[in-house]
Amino acid sequence: MRAVHLLALGAGLAAASPALANESVMKGIANPAEQVLQTVDYANTRYSKLDQINANNVKNLQVAWTFSTGVLRGHEGSPLVVGNIMYVHTPFPNIVYALDLDQGAKIVWKYEPKQDPSVIPVMCCDTVNRGLAYADGAILLHQADTTLVSLDAKTGKVNWSVKNGDPSKGETNTATVLPVKDKVIVGISGGEFGVNCHVTAYDLKSGKKVWRGHSQGPDADMIMDPEKTTSLGKPVGKDSSLKTWEGDQWKTGGGCTWGWFSYDPKLDLFYYGSGNPSTWNPKQRPGDNKWSMTIWARNPDTGMAKWVYQMTPHDEWDYDGINEMILTDQKIDGKERPLLTHFDRNGFGYTLDRATGELLVAEKYDPVVNWATKVDMDKGSKTYGRPLVVSKYSTEQNGEDVNSKGICPAALGSKDQQPAAFSPKTNLFYVPTNHVCMDYEPFRVTYTPGQPYVGATLSMYPAPGSHGGMGNFIAWDGVNGKIKWSNPEQFSAWGGALATAGDVVFYGTLEGYLKAVDSKSGKELYKFKTPSGIIGNVMTYEHKGKQYVGVLSGVGGWAGIGLAAGLTDPNAGLGAVGGYAALSSYTNLGGQLTVFALPNN
């Protein structure tokens, strides 16, 4: 009897333990007709198996239908499609629309949260939101004011809501969330306000907080095991963060988590990057400032950090490390390995072993990157894994009140949050990039809670001596660390890419073009000018046997700042007017979804 009892208990435990990954999410990912995550899949490949629209017929694309969101701000992210319903989100005030595709995209329900507008100016660089996620019959929205809401996908009714941060202290949100197993994992913004940023897991059913891991501070705050958490193959040791900050500075340390999350169900680890340390004046925060600017691998159930890798120790340029981590399995030296590829703001494309955090490749994905000569790949070297900084471009070495000139890339990075795509058919990454350089002058600032804490003067301009444009759309070989092809863009390529089984790669441009290029050659196959600049991500879905491609237009974001006015021309004489081409000559504010399809015969 005793044995039987134990068996029964075992079975009960198994039933109660969280399902692997999240079945509803896994099911949605497996069905290319739908899109349940902003990242298309857990691996963040942004690859769709749909192939009705292909390299031969994409030139015939037409606008099938459009939808106005009613908000004239920067529109990042993309809609989701679950069954016959499309879910569209907006920037602040973060409206959610459920559109019935069976009824000509009729609005089935609308959710509009009431948020204090005082959150608007606390959001550095526009009131964008990178979109919703779907899991277990719920739509998950993480609002600007850090309220995380679970909505009934059928009715739009609030299942639960919970506050993740305090906007009066500069804590806000722009990011999407990661539903995994029985939890939802969220990040937070506020790097320019001296927030001590973190990732937090909430219970998917109740919204109850499960764990929170900070980017800096005591080991317990970071959920780090000094003996078991590793960096470049070695245990991080006790107080790995505290030792790299002066005094209490880690408490206003930044390291924000406003980027994307990816997840590997087999290794049961999720991945994300932490942002810049506060302030932008490096002199005011001596040390490596760990673990800002870091790639993190954590266990979703406990939050425990498995490994970390700091890309830009002691940041001197605002090279936030938050860009997406794309998980692929490819051969390196003839051996199949679980890989993680990341295009950092600092201009290096990194490939690591995602099981161990071993650094395999770190190469510049824009040839103009000049702040470091390379990343030291010599395992025997004292500076192993660190960028070798060029003194001339070191705002730390040049010091406060000195204007360091000609640094590439600019603070907005060789690539910002706009996610890249990966096609398993070509084994290439498709990366929308910025081609912008800067002058950077750090100076002393004082910290006031809820107030910006920047501490540097910047001016940005198109990469000198290049094609004159401010962006490129490139194909990248992550195993060899090489650019395969590169298409120049007049403005930064700020829209997220989508690769499809139809051998087409889609992306949007700041002037408002939706572009389709050949996945092998990069040749432009189709373009269409939408009503406003695109900073959203291209998505695709299938409805009643027909493939559609959709993208949000609505210029804004950081791109809407400098580029709206045209960047400063570094070669212009003093007092010269104009500078480079202004985006405002090409497009205007907007908020619209444009959906494309092939014509019916």
Binding site: F443, T446, V454, A582
Partner: protein
């Protein structure tokens, strides 16, 4: 179409700082000295005559230039190549604190106004009030909010510097560039900075 709501409440520190706004002391035009005249870039293309005229300096106090109403103004010389300390300082502070919303060189962004134009209309007192107290603009589909910087020393200690720089931009006296040559940092600027930032 657009209604404007001004936030009237100022932070405590903001109120204290506001107290430091110089009361207008009329200075007569005949007091103006030729060495106070601007010598602008002869090729400057965006000169706004009325704004430039109103911004004429009639008095200088330790590197600080004042117009006929006693409001701070710029002083640009050497055919538009050299600026006074406060214009330079304002450029630096602007591109740290303001450009994140208002764009480089006061040119505006997709969600904040073009200050190079706003400063053609706003009086010194209005500028100071908005900077310290913030404001909200509601237009269809687009809500914009200027935060209150009243208790932010990184901004309020340089309020006059920002005003002077943006006034030079509005007058077309200074273009889209980082100032190169500049007048020495005045002793009074050093003292005031130290006192305001509180060490």
């Amino acid at each position: 179409m657009s209604s404007i709501k001004r936030t009237a409440v100022l932070g405590l520190v903001g109120a204290a700082l506001l107290g430091a706004v110089p009361t207008a002391t009329a200075v007569f035009a005949q007091d103006a000295k030729p060495e106070l005249a601007n010598k602008l870039d002869p090729n400057a293309k965006e000169i706004d005559e009325p704004v430039l005229k109103a911004a004429t300096a009639v008095k200088e106090e330790d590197g600080k230039y004042l117009d006929k109403d006693g409001h701070p103004t710029f002083h640009i010389t050497n055919d538009g190549k050299k600026v006074d300390w406060y214009t330079y300082s304002g450029y630096r502070r602007y591109h740290a604190e303001c450009h994140v919303c208002h764009g480089p060189d006061g040119m505006g962004s997709t969600y904040a106004p073009v200050l190079k134009d706003s400063l053609k209309r706003l009086s010194y007192e209005e500028f100071y009030g908005i900077l310290a107290g913030g404001r909200q603009n509601h237009t269809a589909g687009n809500e914009s909010v200027m935060p209150a910087f009243g208790d932010n020393k990184n901004v309020m200690c340089y309020a006059n510097d920002l005003y002077v720089y943006l006034r030079a931009r509005a007058a077309g006296a200074w273009g889209r560039a980082r100032p190169g040559e500049k007048e020495e940092k005045p002793e009074s600027a050093k003292t005031a900075e130290k006192e305001c930032l509180g060490g």
